[in-house]
């Protein structure tokens, strides 16, 4: 069979295809996003879709499983918090067709607000979890997860981490299994979790766990690897690979299934070695099982290895005193923080907040970068959808004390569909007065341009009805003061902000303009600075646009190869020193929002 270099996420998608999965759903989130993007490449065989959020995605996969179809759902670690409600119910219900839940955790928080370990969820929801250490295992484990799920009538979690999701290694490709024929048969006793049914299901879950524990002891993925010294390493996930680098002579117990923990296998392993190092990313989960089972054994775990950040052979080596990381630190190089792109349709809005000296309650997406210098206009970012709700809480607490502060909540289109709508319902219902700004760039941009209900297209490339946010808010929720404005129109945005923040009623400003990366193909005329007219006032630098810098004389200088000609800098220049290089050329403004939307947002 052919070998290919696949990322862990691509391997999961390939595994879904080989395992005969016919339904897949997800909400995008780093480091999980590419799983569904790659599943969508098998659209002849697998129906795939973006859910509005992780909860809807998991429930839809569960529904598919009810018919006997094999289903997979993927999300980032914090996404499983959103989907936790159906996760626990799914465990009681079990799986008719296989139900595989892929959680991609992000130790080190490369692109997340925390570094939670979702194996805790598998333990709490009493379902098995598999943990691959490279792409081959990621692919194979989807096939194994499907088998386990259908044999033991349980959802199965696959826990990826950033490094397994985003590393490439070679994978041997296999054939596709013939998927079972779906058919919906009612099963009231299992699937209607009224307390009477649920009590019986809980008993079944406890029985299932015992059987799974026995299975884990004999599972081929839980394997002892011979060493030369009486030192043992207990490892799961990518940490196993780091262990092999640092402990070339040790015995290994490599766990593909950390939970249920293979107690008998571990005790056999423990009897072979004098000392056990435990390597795992994030929390001491297999370590705690090991300590319970072998209290007399010398075990080295998170008391020595880092709880914070990613594991690596350097982290392991440093913890053991084999490597002095301080010797490698400190090149004293200025940081290169991420920033909004040149031509980003969010820039003008954040610049205006700065001018008005207003901080926003923020949310999760590219626009969270509005918190960074020089825009510095967002003082909270909590979780998906929390901009609107946190803002309402602040407003009500101040109101009770007879105080008010002009306040703005800011949220992106995809995040609004994900979990902003319910927050806005709270605002209306509870007489909130906040101004909610929805930055609508027609796409889920931060994770790499996934379609969403406002894009006009589905994951599988079908045209879809585009949900217009302003219409939804004005006609659906009844917020009369709903206004749409072009993201590149600096003055219109500022005037609206001033007026709506002063209004003692709830209002919504939809700042519209597709993500600039979506229409980069054309050769837009860039901007330029007239050096004679430029007074070095540096206002344009406060946009934080990567295409603008200050030259040796302190005058503005525009990098024409980065500049998209959005013209926002020309609008903020009081001295009219900035103009198009080619006044008659192609200008990005000439793309109207409606013509763009007709193209499906892509």
């Amino acid at each position: 069979m052919a070998k290919e270099l696949l990322s862990g996420n691509e391997a999961i998608a390939r595994g879904a295809w080989e395992a005969g999965i016919t339904f897949a759903s997800a909400y995008p989130g780093t480091p999980s996003t590419e799983i569904l993007e790659n599943v969508a490449r098998y659209k002849e065989d697998i129906y795939s879709q973006w859910g509005a959020n992780e909860k809807t995605a998991l429930e839809e996969a569960l529904g598919a499983s009810f018919t006997g179809a094999r289903a997979l759902v993927a999300m980032k670690h914090v996404g499983l918090n959103v989907a936790a409600d159906p996760l626990f119910s799914a465990s009681y219900i079990g799986a008719t067709g296989a139900l595989v839940i892929v959680s991609a955790d992000d130790p080190g928080m490369h692109s997340s607000q925390n570094e939670q370990d979702n194996r805790h969820y598998a333990v709490a929801a009493k379902m098995p979890v598999l943990e691959p250490s490279d792409s081959q295992e990621a692919k194979d484990m989807v096939v194994q997860a499907v088998q386990i799920s259908e044999t033991y009538d349980t959802p199965v979690m696959i826990r990826m981490t950033t490094r397994t999701s985003h590393s490439r290694s070679s994978v041997e490709l296999g054939e596709r299994q013939v998927p079972p024929e779906p058919e919906y048969k009612s099963d009231f006793a299992k699937r209607n979790l009224l307390p009477g049914n649920a009590r019986r299901r809980h008993a079944a879950v406890e029985e299932r766990l015992k059987k799974l524990a026995a299975f884990s002891d004999g599972f081929a993925g839980n394997v002892i690897i011979k060493g030369r010294e009486r030192v043992g390493v207990l490892a799961s996930g990518v940490s196993y690979q780091y262990g092999r680098e640092v402990f070339p002579d040790a015995w290994f117990l490599k766990l593909a299934m950390p939970y249920p923990f293979p107690a008998k296998l571990f005790q056999r392993f423990a009897s072979m070695v004098d000392k056990i190092y435990v390597l795992e990313e994030n929390d001491p989960i297999i370590e705690n099982f090991a300590r319970l089972l072998a209290p007399q054994k010398e075990i080295v775990g998170k008391d020595v290895f880092p709880l914070l950040g990613e594991m690596s052979q350097d982290a392991v080596g440093a913890a053991l005193g084999l490597k002095d990381l301080a010797a490698f630190a400190g090149n004293g190089v200025p940081a290169r923080p991420p920033s909004l792109c040149a031509g980003c349709p969010h820039t003008a809005f954040f610049f205006n907040l700065g001018v008005l000296k207003v901080q926003s309650r923020g949310d999760i997406g590219c626009y969270t970068l509005g918190a960074l210098r020089p825009l510095s206009a967002m003082d909270t970012c909590v979780d998906m959808g929390a901009s609107i709700t946190v803002q309402l809480g602040i407003e009500k607490a101040l109101e009770k004390a007879g105080k008010s502060v002009p306040q703005v909540a800011v949220i992106g289109d995809s995040t609004f569909f994900h979990s902003g709508i319910t927050g806005l319902v709270d605002v209306i219902y509870n007489h909130g007065k906040s101004t909610v700004v929805i930055l609508d760039n027609s796409i889920t941009a931060m994770t790499g341009h996934q379609e969403n209900p406002g894009s006009g297209r589905t994951l599988m490339g079908q045209e879809a009805r585009r949900i217009d946010i302003a219409t939804l808010v004005r006609d659906g929720l009844g917020i009369t003061h709903t206004y749409a404005v072009d993201g590149y129109d600096v003055k219109a945005i500022r005037d609206l902000l001033k007026r709506e923040m002063a209004r003692p009623e709830p209002s919504v400003i939809v700042v519209r303009r597709p993500c600039v990366l979506l229409y980069r193909k054309a050769k837009w005329s860039p901007m330029r600075v007239d050096k004679e007219t430029c007074t070095s006032c540096k206002v344009c630098l406060r946009l934080g646009c990567p295409a603008i810098q200050s030259d040796a004389d302190g005058k503005a200088l525009i990098n024409e190869s980065l500049c998209t000609g959005c013209g926002v800098c020309a609008q903020v220049c009081a001295f009219k020193a900035i103009s198009f290089v080619d006044e008659q050329g192609l200008h990005i403004h000439s793309i109207t929002l409606d013509s763009f939307a007709k193209g499906g947002g892509k």
């Binding site: 985003h166 290694s169 940081a335 290169r336 923080p337 991420p338 792109c341």
Partner: protein
């Protein structure tokens, strides 16, 4: 053979992941076991981007160890300096002679160090500076600078040149093949 490590670094948008994909494919076809790591998500928005490639008979970790990396291929000078401590005592730094000021520098809040090249020279066993961005611009598109740099890297590795050209031919869209072949050649010939 003992496994080897290459670290590719630069600024989001410079084609770093394309370059490391290309390198990985060449190594896989040359018969090595290959593991590659990369960064996605927030840091791609104009932040620094790193991709690492390890290859050999048997490779475990996809990440290279500090102080044990054989080659750094840097698309931007400051990024070379940011990662130079990954190099081994015999390590080589292949660096695009190109400065892209980070936003805080562009905004005048911080300074781009004036002595980047001197510091690189002190820390790397060997330093090769190549004007890859200019060479690519001369060929008509500075976006091909990543393939110029891959050409330079290829000239330092013992892998048949024909294999590199074959992989580039397969990876690159047809309308860019000519540009990329030329870009590869200009990098490949640069050292000699």
């Amino acid at each position: 053979m003992k496994s080897k490590s290459i670290l590719i670094c630069g600024v989001g948008g410079q084609g770093i992941l394309t370059a490391s994909d290309l390198l990985s494919d060449v190594l896989l076809q040359a018969g090595f076991q290959v593991k590659k790591s990369e960064v996605h998500g927030m840091s791609q928005r104009g932040g620094d981007v790193v991709s690492t490639v390890r290859y050999g008979d048997e490779v475990f970790s996809p990440l290279p160890a500090l102080g044990e990396t054989d080659t750094i291929l840097a698309f931007e000078k400051l990024e070379a300096l940011r990662h130079v401590h990954y190099l081994s005592a015999k390590g080589i730094a292949l660096v695009n002679d190109f400065a892209w000021p980070p936003l805080p520098v562009a905004a005048g809040l911080e300074k781009y160090p004036a002595d980047v090249v001197e510091r690189l020279r002190k820390k790397a066993h060997e330093l090769v500076l190549i004007p890859a961005t200019r060479l690519a611009a001369d060929l008509g598109n500075e976006k091909a600078s990543n393939v110029v740099l891959i050409g330079l890297l290829a000239s330092r590795m013992e892998i048949d040149k024909a294999l590199w050209l074959e992989v580039i031919g397969k990876k690159v869209p047809p309308r860019f093949i000519d540009l990329n072949m030329k870009a590869f050649e200009s990098g490949y010939r640069f050292a000699s």
